[in-house]
Subunit: 241 residues, 2 copies
């Protein structure tokens, strides 16, 4: 009996060409691919003929639970398979990769993590925005829009960090996040860029400022990322990939 | 005459397999490759036979200046070449990619940016550390150790953001950064991981806490990255790639 194992692979921000070579190699050696909603289906063609493809996308109001996904990974690996767990972006940037690593570790299943290009950094680039820029944007803070209702989370500190703030999962929380950042001390005039479906043919970019975002919210559905900071005002100067 | 152009490619954190498919394709279509010190030389074999390879590494006390690099990119593109500018990590995360994009734009040279896996996120993963983890580390702030002497930079705000702080270019500034974060309100007991040469065969990881880092500094030479936050205490649970 061959021991199974799991490779957690970051699929990158959207464009399938932004997968890593290591990720492509892992897919090419997969017996089972367990993939999320935001993963481009063309990546599945990198798996061998005969590999099983298991969709475990979460969506509003349902889908597969995290504990079900973790049990599936454990069961498939214990049955001897090389399981590739393909996740959008980077597994450790709001990707719950750490939880899956922990669950596999508790079950005694071998796991490696292949990092991916994070949407948090690639979406700004796709909109022509450097998240850091000498003398202008000297740090980058990545948060989730889901934190906006969390009274334990110190949004004031986030608001006051000089540099760029990137908000993932921002579509529904956009107006509330903008209000919270202004309340925490960011200027109402602080530039904002909103990037929908970054690096895909469906990519859309809108520009406003914090007061505008507070008034109007996000003009796009999920997946949308919001970039707050001095460089977000830049006109698109180049396209990604 | 064919119009030249520049593709700025993020080479990833060290392991050449962490290049993206798009980056590999750009290299395969390069006439000239302009590369930095931290780029694995094996990546240069992806360029066509006959492509010119130009080393422009910066190092302490010398090397090629940023303005010389920008002039080189402009000149080579104007001569009709497809120039691939290969940079370690991601071009827009303390990579000065934005400055090169601006210089090329001023010169009227077409440029695209292919994002890479940032060392800021991949180095923690390589040490078994998720930069975000549900309920434990709810944001990630990326800064440069070079900012420690900058009185205009608000380290207090960085210290107070809940979640993970990743410090790039941290080898020489480590003790001063730790002192600054403690002065700004982070606990002396806050876990710290130090990752040298992440994702390469030379990778080394050390663990301490903020007070220990303040006392002893970074035990490794550059390139080293420091991770501060609750998940930095974790024992390595898996290897990257």
């Amino acid at each position: 009996v061959t021991a199974g194992r799991v490779t957690i692979v970051g699929a990158g921000p959207g464009d399938p060409d932004l997968l890593t070579l290591a990720g492509a190699r892992a897919l090419g050696a997969a017996d089972v691919v367990v993939f999320d909603r935001l993963v481009d289906r063309r990546l599945l063609t990198l798996a061998p003929a005969g590999a099983r493809l298991v969709y475990v996308g979460k969506h509003k109001g349902g889908g597969v639970t995290q504990s079900t996904i973790e049990a599936l990974l454990v069961d498939e690996a214990r049955a001897g398979s090389h399981v590739v767990r393909l996740k959008g972006g980077d597994p450790h940037v709001f990707g719950r990769g750490g939880e899956e690593v922990d669950a596999l570790g508790r079950a005694g299943v071998a796991v490696v993590v292949v990092p991916g290009v994070s949407s948090a950094l690639a979406a700004p680039t796709a909109a022509g925005i450097p998240v850091t820029h000498r003398g202008i944007a000297r740090s980058c803070t990545i948060v989730s829009g889901h934190l906006v209702g969390d009274d334990d989370f110190d949004w004031d500190a986030v608001a006051q960090v000089p540099g760029t703030i990137v908000i993932l999962m921002a579509a529904t929380a956009a107006a509330a996040v903008a209000a919270r950042l202004i309340a925490g001390g960011r200027r109402e005039e602080e530039p904002v860029a909103i990037v929908h479906a970054a690096t895909t043919p469906q990519q859309r970019v809108a520009r406003t400022h914090l007061a505008g975002l507070r008034a109007s919210g996000c003009p796009f559905p999920a997946p949308s990322i919001i970039v707050v900071g001095p460089t977000a005002a830049d006109e698109p100067r180049h396209a990604a990939s």
